[in-house]
Symmetry: C2
Subunit: 345 residues, 2 copies
């Protein structure tokens, strides 16, 4: 077995010399290198933006979608939608582990795993498409895939349905980062606390701040505020308009005994909410952006404009142990698990 | 005197309830509130994007630019270009200090200051435009401006020309953040080390890492690498293509005894350089983005895609003492001062 690059650059065919994700074509030869893992694939979870595009292009015709998926994978060696650029994830069983990795990782042949790295950079060969379930963006196939040494994955747990696990894994980075970031006694503001990542972050933050700390959850209306209060995941709940930073600031300060908070966490997927996340934080505090709608320049120039000496962090979807941390939350909290089963499965 | 909001929301006329920067119109009544500072303005340094737009709109006619500036300020109460949204900064003398601020700040009436907060949110009244110097985007005026309690400023030093001080103050956030971030013994990579902020960051980083640390500066070609070597601001200099992350990774590791670095700092103004900044950093290391060309999503998804457990920080243009830190560098290093005088004044 040959030794490949940690990042999979040895499989890049075109253009030469880059990383697999931006590459137009990578090798899907299923003879693995000694730091790769071969996966027998059960199904692909196509990214929602990509699947919507495929459906539209095919006029909703399932057979046409199948043909197009096969074409893309034959052309690129990976399931990366040429229009949206996005991929998705896959579920399958470990078929073979490269010699260099065998003693270094917690996987054995036969383990059922989900890859947490995008299909847009994963070598894939489809032998046959068995079924497409358009309502859940799922493509069941016969085929193989390769995971690079840097590729992240999770063993699927036996104590919950795959769909429940995947719903939590989808936002796993957020609660894991909160766990690393938040200290006992901290005062925390969570914007978008009623959403999927917001709920997981609120639950984790409340656990981390302990008895002296406070977690303040923002909801956009009374109905969602009531739902959030009933969870018990936050100490305080505010109803505030995230597009009005002064409204968020005033309401946060009011429930926090007149003070700014130590850390704010943006779990919204709404553009132009940077200042609502920056203003309520004290000097030397931390502003954590998990929202993919965050604008780098609006955050950087916005903080300078109001003279806020805060540390602003770009939410990294990955941190060590993030998958286990997310699954553990569902095991710990029956309430959280029930909400996830009702709303996201 | 009435008490105003720290962020100047009390002067917002339209739309009601927001912050002064996104506002369409703010009050430029020069009767100050008790937490404001009144400035007798010498000149405006119009932001370069804004000035270019004004020149084009006026077909290069200076009188037309004057008329347009007066129109904008009369309409908005501030010099915010309606097309680019940007402002600039101003230089002037302190004329009056609100009662609530008098004992809290290090300013007295008569001090010459530069505002480090954007003109796009600063109440301004222009009585007369004296002269426009289009080659340096400068507009000399008779007029007044107001600084809010949250507004940042710097007293202009007497031991250097205003233009030299302003060139350093323009990027003051970067070296000040480096000073806070870098610890003795750290291994640091600076992308874009030959530019204005790159030079200031390199100089500061070398000072902070001490004898056991290493500062690696990236240059885009041999000529710029020679220039950087001659400054002595970096321990090692690499010539690498910032659009090729693997090239940057390999060259960094080669000069760093086979290891990844602890911290990387992006001082480029080139899009698509996120991965070049992320890949060379060890797990648990820090990636600092000062580049306004940074894409939030490319950084967040990119780090996850390669399974990098790094902390990614949005460069805040402001931190306490940043102006003094930047000016102090010019005083400490004759070489840096000379480069600034030759290239940026």
């Amino acid at each position: 077995m040959k030794k490949g690059s940690k990042y999979g650059t040895h499989r890049v065919i075109e253009p030469k010399g880059g990383l697999p994700q931006p590459a137009l074509k990578i090798s899907n030869n299923m003879e693995i290198f000694n730091n790769e893992i071969l996966i027998d694939v059960d199904y692909l979870n196509i990214d929602s933006a990509s699947f919507t595009q495929l459906k539209e292009e095919a006029g909703g015709n399932i057979e046409k979608i199948k043909t197009r998926i096969i074409e893309i994978v034959n052309e690129r060696g990976k399931m990366q939608n040429p229009v949206t650029g996005s991929g998705g994830m896959l579920i399958g069983n470990v078929e073979k582990i490269g010699n260099n990795l065998k003693d270094k990782i917690d996987l054995k042949v036969g383990d059922k795993i989900a890859t947490l790295v995008s299909l847009s950079l994963t070598p894939l060969r489809i032998d046959k498409i068995l079924e497409i379930k358009p309502e859940i963006d799922r493509v069941e196939i016969e085929g193989k895939a390769v995971l690079f040494e840097s590729g992240i994955y999770v063993k699927l747990p036996e104590d919950m349905k795959d769909t429940l696990a995947l719903a939590a894994l989808d936002v796993a980075g957020a609660p894991a980062q909160v766990k690393k970031l938040v200290k006992p006694g901290d005062k925390i503001l969570i914007l978008g606390a009623t959403g999927k990542s917001g709920l997981m972050c609120s639950y984790m933050a409340k656990k981390m701040v302990g008895e002296r700390g406070v977690v303040i959850g923002q909801a956009r209306n009374d109905q969602r505020a009531d739902f959030l209060k009933n969870t018990g995941f936050c100490h305080k709940v505010i109803v505030a308009n995230v597009l009005d930073p002064i409204d968020v600031l005033n309401k946060t300060i009011r429930v926090n005994e007149g003070d700014e908070v130590d850390i704010s966490i943006n779990c919204l997927s709404i553009p132009n909410t940077e200042m609502s996340c920056i203003l309520p934080v004290r000097d030397d505090g931390i502003v954590y952006f998990f929202s993919m709608a965050t604008s780098f320049t609006k955050a950087a120039l916005g903080a300078e404009g109001v003279g806020k000496d805060v540390k602003m962090v770009i939410g990294n979807g990955y941190t060590k142990g993030h998958a286990q941390i997310a699954l553990e939350e569902l095991r710990e909290s029956e309430k959280l698990r029930k909400i996830f089963e009702e709303k996201y499965v």
